[in-house]
């Protein structure tokens, strides 16, 4: 991949996301949610999106706002139903959005596998439950596992605390959550950050997402 672009604004950062794209959206609830990038995506206009995110929107901002605009045809997530997921709930109950529920660890590991070049993996999660129905099962050393496949994104939208001009990212506290695995699992990774520092100003020992995974950075 070519060098990371530090974008002038969020409009430039989300340019070119096509209709029908699979978009990985970071965040666990609102912590780590790339709200400015989602707002820019709403303005940009891409539709018929498949969104992969832990939750299906909280309140009326961020991912919930994208859903409310009717831009998402399918959600892949672990925990759509929450006290403040009224936007998703309404769409789902009206049959206006498809839902794939994935155990949270499988959601993370499937994206990790995509970014790491793993073709599939056997996982003990969900054995004997409805979420393993129809999937290949194998017993390995006396334990039963379910075959799970990678989950790739065309685009990842993540929020990080700080970047350098190379595109190296550091996060803050539990806002890190899905950011690193999503950054590696998408063809084009776009990061909104609180600040961009000069090359050499981030301690290489504390970089969490190396620049190789990051295509565009924008300060928000």
């Amino acid at each position: 991949m070519s060098a990371t672009t530090v974008c002038a604004d969020v409009r430039e950062a989300v340019a070119g996301i096509p209709d029908g794209a699979t978009v990985l959206v970071g965040g666990f609830g609102m912590a780590g949610m790339p709200v400015a990038l989602i707002d820019a995506l709403i303005q940009q206009g891409a539709t018929d999106l498949t969104v992969v995110s832990n939750n299906a929107g909280n309140g009326d901002t961020g991912l919930a706002s994208l859903l409310a605009k009717g831009r998402v045809s399918k959600m892949v997530c672990s925990f759509p139903r929450q006290s403040d997921s009224w936007v998703f709930d309404g769409l789902y109950l009206a049959g206006k959005i498809e839902l794939e529920v994935v155990p949270q660890g499988n959601l993370a590991e499937r994206m990790r596998a995509a970014g790491a070049g793993i073709g599939a993996f056997f996982c003990p999660t969900a054995v004997g439950t409805p979420l393993a129905e129809g999937k290949e099962i194998r017993e390995i050393d006396g334990r039963t596992y379910v075959l799970e496949y990678p989950l790739r994104g065309d685009v990842a939208l993540v929020a990080a605390h700080r970047a350098d001009r190379m595109g190296n990212l550091v996060y803050r506290k539990t806002a890190r959550n899905f950011g690193p695995v999503m950054a590696a699992a998408a063809t084009t990774t776009i990061a909104q950050v609180g600040s961009v520092v000069e090359i050499g100003e981030l301690d290489p020992e504390v970089v969490v997402t190396p620049s190789i995974y990051v295509d565009r950075v924008v300060v928000t």
Binding site: A31, G32, P80, R81, Q104, G105, A108, T125, R176, N177
Partner: protein, 216 residues
């Protein structure tokens, strides 16, 4: 028998009973809801380290007022604090930690637990219900010991400890102990065993649960 044990336990008392069974120095994950009451009953020197699925070891109590940091939340998305010695990691590492068998105990809520330890806590299966699993399936099969905290009977009086779960399963034969208002029970492939009862005799409890009267 002390007076405290002649009536059924409050939620706080159940939480205290669970806390008493968590070995010092354990790495522990708490499910959302009532299990989050457990840390209030851990002793000062327990050395228990709390794991949260959203990527941290060393979670502290809920935060309030000016101390609230929206980048610092628990599995229920509530603002919390961090303790000295805390560590942050991404989601794939957080769940690798569970699945890899590194957590000593997790405490989860439940709709139903079967006598052999099957867990149902993610979906009622009711028409119109929106399924949401979160980290429950990963936790259920990952932690070395899975404790359930729940009321023993549903609002309609039906037992939540059952021969076979009727709700969709979260995990198979994964629950080792069930802590309830009326009793503590062990569950597993050999069936359910009554450990302790509160405000009900063991004979009456066995009858209400349909457990064989022969003590194991």
């Amino acid at each position: 028998m002390s007076s405290a044990l002649t009536r059924r336990l409050t939620k706080d008392q159940i939480a205290a009973r669970i806390a008493a069974d968590i070995p010092a120095g354990s790495f522990v994950n708490l499910g959302i809801g009532k299990p989050t009451m457990v840390p209030d009953h851990l002793g000062e020197g327990s050395g228990v380290v709390l794991h949260t699925e959203n990527g941290r070891l060393g979670m502290g109590p809920l935060s309030a007022g000016d101390a609230i940091d929206h980048d610092l939340t628990n599995a229920g998305k509530e603002p919390v604090t961090e303790l000295p010695g805390a560590a942050y990691f991404h989601h794939a590492d957080s769940f690798a930690m569970m699945r890899g068998g590194h957590l000593d105990v997790c405490v989860l809520g439940a709709f139903q637990v079967s006598h052999r330890g099957d867990l149902a806590n993610w979906h009622t299966g009711a028409p119109g219900a929106i399924p949401a699993v979160g980290g429950a399936m990963d936790l259920a099969i990952g932690a070395k010991q899975v404790f359930v905290m729940m009321t023993l009977f549903a609002k309609d009086g039906s037992p939540k400890l059952v021969p076979e779960c009727t709700y969709p399963l979260t995990g198979v034969e994964c629950v080792g102990r069930v802590y309830t208002d009326h009793a503590v029970l062990e569950t597993g492939p050999g069936g359910a065993r009554v450990v302790e009862t509160f405000g009900i005799t063991e004979a009456d409890l066995r009858e209400r649960l349909g457990l064989k009267q022969t003590a194991s």
